[in-house]
Amino acid sequence: MASVDRQLADNIPSFDKHEDGQAVGVSNWSGVAGQLGLIKSGREWALIAFVALALIGGMELLLRLYEVPTYIMPTPSLIAAALVRDFPLLAPHVGHTLVELLTGFAIGATVGFVLAALVTQFPLLERIIAPYILLLVTTPMLALVPLLILKLGFGYSPRIIAVALASGPMVMINSATGFRRTDLAKIALARSFGASTLQIFMKIRIPMAMPMVIVGLMVGSIFGLLTAVGAEMVGGSFGLGNRLTYYSSLIQMPQFFACIVLLAVIGISIYVFFYWLGKKYAGWES
């Protein structure tokens, strides 16, 4: 009788206790994704736009009224002008930062996801590597950048490695939480129709882990962006982080803030993208 599934063989099928995955899972998906997409009417839109305009306009007004010097805080109009005027100069740096972020994140997320999927199948292995993953999560990977630059120079590679190291563990711990949610009844269902272990993995375990995987991807990519910008500040001559140090050393504050606006746009785009992804692939949970 060796053909009986390892996943089921030693478990008592007790439904009364209600030990399905939902209790183990952490994710309140909507908590991460906030209030996006809940705006209903034109009136709400108008109100939101009004508050935004009032904030920016008020800032402009106050800065002008008190004659705050530009090198302390430029007015929104100056920042906007700098953004438009110098965009051709800044655009390549946006490109560099995105290359580092996307490449590093792709590597980190892939490794993190695969490791999480593998490791959660073997509890002993999970216990063995858990401390190292925790170490990677809690230590700022930015700390490694000077060393990486020393070894690899001022090109893309140290930054990409730093981004991968920062995002990978985040993806991994969240995905692992997802993969640990085993619902015996759902596995038994697939098994009762003759599913192989691989099929159970693809059709039951992965979809069940998906909400937590997406949370991990979101957190990981934000960490990746932080690390990319930080690494650019440490050394090298390109990327938005490098531009921040460059413009601040020249006290060109409008350009400095233009870079910050661009970074904010990247950050918000990441957030919106994963919110959409979560709605699409993890919407069943909320």
Partner: protein
């Protein structure tokens, strides 16, 4: 009982131990039963009497510690295409639409879904038009009907039902019991149905197997001779009430005996 015929399903001295962190659990103790082709058999017993263990073993999901289970004379050691299972609380996959949930067995077996059969079944249980809905958009009763469609869609010869209606309210439960009786009369599948409701067992079964609590043992077998089809009103008939009381007594008889023995 026609002893000459080979039973559709034979359980011979099935025992099962579980190794748990707190020690060995004896879940099932030398349980035997024969189910003839086309029969409807119910197994009742208190919680934790090993009913689910028994059923999961029949489905080939669990290995037995000793004894064996034969389907058409062949030992069951792994899930068989001849067997389909209906689980507690419907067990729908929440990330799949109803249609996709029902197609799961075909996906697993890499077959084209039996479209005509599925559509007919959906029609039969009153779920036509709900194919695109997700489980959370359906009531408990609808979900359980969908899971019955899922199980029957692969045209099994043996249907195993593990307390399928335990989580439903009384009205929905009556409705489901009627439906399952009708479907059984139409398809003549062999059904093994587990429940902890004695009236449900008497209403549905040709024969009721009563189990005692841990370790799960067969304590008594009752033949239910109420003619079919059985309308819901049969539950108020004196003979029905008598049978229920008799089965109940056979379970409760055990209870006072235990402290005396201890």
């Amino acid at each position: 009982m026609s002893a000459a015929r080979r039973p559709k399903l034979a359980v011979e001295g099935a025992s099962k131990f579980y190794e748990t962190p707190t020690g060995r659990t004896h879940a099932l103790d030398r349980f035997s039963m024969d189910v003839q082709d086309g029969e409807f058999v119910c197994v009742v017993g208190p919680s934790g009497c090993g009913k689910s263990t028994l059923l999961w073993s029949m489905a080939g999901l669990h290995a037995l510690s000793s004894g064996r289970i034969l389907l058409d004379g062949q030992p069951v050691t792994k899930p068989s295409p001849q067997i389909a299972m209906v689980f507690q609380e419907a067990n729908m996959l929440p990330w799949r639409s109803l249609q996709k949930n029902i197609e799961l067995p075909f996906e697993i077996r890499r077959q084209a879904p039996a479209r005509e059969r599925i559509d007919g079944l959906l029609q039969r249980v009153g779920l036509a038009g709900f194919e695109g809905k997700y489980p959370r958009e359906l009531s408990g009763g609808m979900q359980q009907r969908a899971s019955i469609v899922r199980a029957l869609s692969v045209d099994p010869s043996l249907l195993l039902m593990d307390e399928p209606f335990g989580a439903l309210d009384a009205f929905t439960r009556d409705e489901m019991n009627l439906l399952i009786e009708e479907i059984w009369l139409e398809t003549k599948k062999t059904i093994v149905f587990i429940t902890h409701s004695i009236p449900e067992a008497v209403f549905l079964a040709d024969r009721v197997y009563v189990m005692s609590a841990r370790p799960g043992r067969l304590s008594k077998v009752f033949d239910i001779d109420i003619p079919r089809p059985r309308p819901l009103e049969v539950q108020a008939a004196p003979h029905f009430v008598e049978l229920v009381a008799e089965i109940k007594a056979s379970i409760e008889h055990k209870a006072p005996a235990r402290p005396a023995a201890a």
